[in-house]
């Protein structure tokens, strides 16, 4: 497939925003349970603002993918059948909750929602945060399933696709949270940094698993089934037009094999070992610059990862466009 930068930026930016929000709620839950010193409201407010900024940037990027952005509101209609429609609903819903979560913290309005001798005490912001977590994972699943539900794009049609979207988003979000928390508290940095490392390792495992899976894919469609002629030696001689068409542009990445293969190694380096190294170094000597660099490197790597994700998918229609 032809990787569209609008979609690459959409998925990577909202992934990082979602991961950052998860980190914030994790911190609040930890401090609520007493595992972490309670933080000032401004930390959660600013964190939510950063997360919301990433989500808005992703949303803006997505509009560049549309031929008619002014009709985008229509795309919430088919949520019963379309994962894209579900994402279109989940993203603003999640953004609204992030906004409310941040606003409550800025207003420092945090009444006790319930709590008694039997039930643990729960405050409003934590409740909103938990709703946000549910929507956050819903959004991860919707984003991943947009690709995983297309069964003849065999590289994508695997449960590993939504798993990778979730883990890579969380990994980059927690790395960002680590860098972000250096301004507030060392304990927070340690907590986020540890989770960032764990999540990056988890994402390394599942992304490698999907790369290995895709290496040994056996395509169901061949030229034989595509034109219905049972012969071992079929060659296309003409695709019906001398110039290019939508079919020759949309479904091919258009880059050399060398470029394609090098992107794989670039993202494998930038998303996993380098951020892990920078995180380890940053956490051990508390240098915020290294942690910011860790996020920057990982984010750049994720752009390459997403490019590769799209470019690797081999659409069966390409069988009809083998030669001019």
């Amino acid at each position: 497939m032809h990787p569209a930068f609008s979609v690459i930026f959409l998925t990577t930016l909202i992934g990082a925003g979602q991961g950052l929000f998860l980190a914030l709620v994790t911190a609040e839950a930890f401090s609520h349970m007493g595992a972490l010193a309670s933080q000032e409201h401004r930390f959660y407010g600013n964190g939510s603002l950063l997360s919301l900024g990433l989500l808005i940037a992703g949303l803006i990027a997505s509009f560049f993918h549309l031929g008619h952005p002014e009709r985008a509101w229509r795309s919430a209609a088919m949520w019963r059948t379309s994962w894209l429609s579900r994402e279109v609903i989940a993203l603003p819903a999640f953004m609204a909750v992030v906004f409310i979560y941040g606003l409550l913290h800025y207003l420092e309005w945090n009444p006790k929602v319930f709590g008694s001798a039997a039930l643990p005490e729960t405050n409003l912001t934590l409740m909103v945060g938990i709703v946000g977590i549910v929507l956050c994972f819903t959004l991860f699943i919707c984003t991943g399933m947009i690709y995983a539900c297309l069964k003849f794009l065999q590289e994508w049609h695997t449960p590993l696709t939504p798993v990778n979207y979730t883990l890579l988003g969380m990994s980059s979000g927690f790395t960002l949270a680590t860098a972000f928390a250096t301004q507030y508290s060392l304990a927070l940095t340690g907590l986020f940094g540890t989770w960032a490392i764990i999540l990056t390792f988890a994402a390394l495992l599942t992304r490698t698993a999907s790369l290995l899976r895709n290496q040994r894919i056996k395509y169901h469609s061949t030229l034989r089934t595509a034109i219905g002629v049972r012969h071992n030696n079929i060659q296309q001689k003409s695709q019906g037009s001398m110039g290019g068409s939508f079919n020759t542009r949309e479904y091919f990445h258009g880059m050399s094999t060398v470029f394609f293969k090098s992107v794989k190694w670039i993202f494998l380096l930038l998303v996993f070992p380098l951020p892990l190294l920078l995180l380890g170094m940053g956490l051990s000597n508390g240098a915020s610059g290294l942690l910011v660099l860790a996020f920057a490197v990982q984010y750049a790597g994720l752009i390459a990862e997403r490019w590769f994700f799209f470019a690797q998918a081999n659409h069966p229609q390409n069988l009809y466009y083998q030669t001019i």
Binding site: H68, R74, L84, H220, K237, S238, F246, E250, H315, P316
Partner: protein, 243 residues
């Protein structure tokens, strides 16, 4: 229930592209506006087509055969492009099974094109909406046309009558008979899309000669030459028999 579809006889198709040009002509002149043509006489011409003819060579020289494959939207009975559409712009008509795009609802996200294994959908890069074969829906029901002309433009244009049009759910229809009697098959059956359009395979017309057809059984003595002359004075049968 009706399912309109095309049946294309690959044994007859000569790859002349008449269906492509007539399709383009009809559909670029319709109420939905022109089909995009960019740089048509320049260096890199490109444009939106509903129908394309692709050519394949099967076998190894000298035992080769050329197969021309005209391919447009197959109007699948289980169209994978329809449920993925977020706006509902892509839909399959219940009354005749035609898969259509509502150009006023389409947001141009291209997701349906990704979801079509056949590459039948092409975006109009000027109007920024997804377009595809409509089976000439604006023509086949047009009461102002003579009844014989209420067929898709490609079907009417085909000089070899390789394209048949009709209801594949009606067992008595010309298309159903063609599919049933001539081994009609769908493209990429492995995805369960159940394309309504079918293709009739290449067929060889051979004459089988039997050994006894090559030898003259009316000449059992295997003697070649002129038949013996009869005596001109000998009586004919008429001379001795009174009718």
């Amino acid at each position: 229930m009706t399912q309109l579809a095309l049946v294309i006889d690959l044994n007859v198709c000569v790859g002349c592209h008449a269906c492509v040009t007539s399709c383009k002509q009809w559909n670029t002149s319709g109420a939905a506006g022109p089909l995009m043509d960019d740089n048509p006489y320049g260096k890199d011409p490109t444009g939106t087509f509903f129908n394309r003819v692709q050519t394949y060579e099967v076998g190894e020289f000298p035992d080769t055969e050329t197969v021309h494959l005209p391919k447009s939207c197959l109007h699948c009975e289980e169209p994978p492009c329809v449920p993925v559409c977020p706006t509902g712009a892509s839909y399959k008509r219940a009354e005749d099974g035609i898969v259509l795009v509502d150009y006023d609802k389409c947001i141009g996200c291209k997701y349906c094109a990704w979801a079509c294994p056949y590459g039948a959908r092409e975006i109009d890069e000027k109007q920024k909406v997804m377009k595809k074969c409509t089976l000439c829906v604006d023509r086949i029901y047009d009461q102002s046309l003579p009844e014989a002309d209420r067929k898709p433009a490609c079907v009417l244009a085909c000089p070899t009558s390789a394209r048949l049009f009709g209801d594949v759910h009606d067992p008595e229809s010309e298309v159903s008979r063609a599919i049933g009697e001539n081994g009609g098959y769908p493209l990429m059956p492995e995805w369960g899309t159940q394309p309504a359009n079918h293709y009739l395979p290449r067929r060889k017309t051979r004459i089988k000669f039997h050994e006894d057809e090559l030898t003259r059984v009316d000449n059992p003595l295997k003697k070649d030459g002129r038949l013996p002359r009869t005596d001109p004075d000998a009586p004919f049968l008429e001379d001795s028999v009174s009718w």
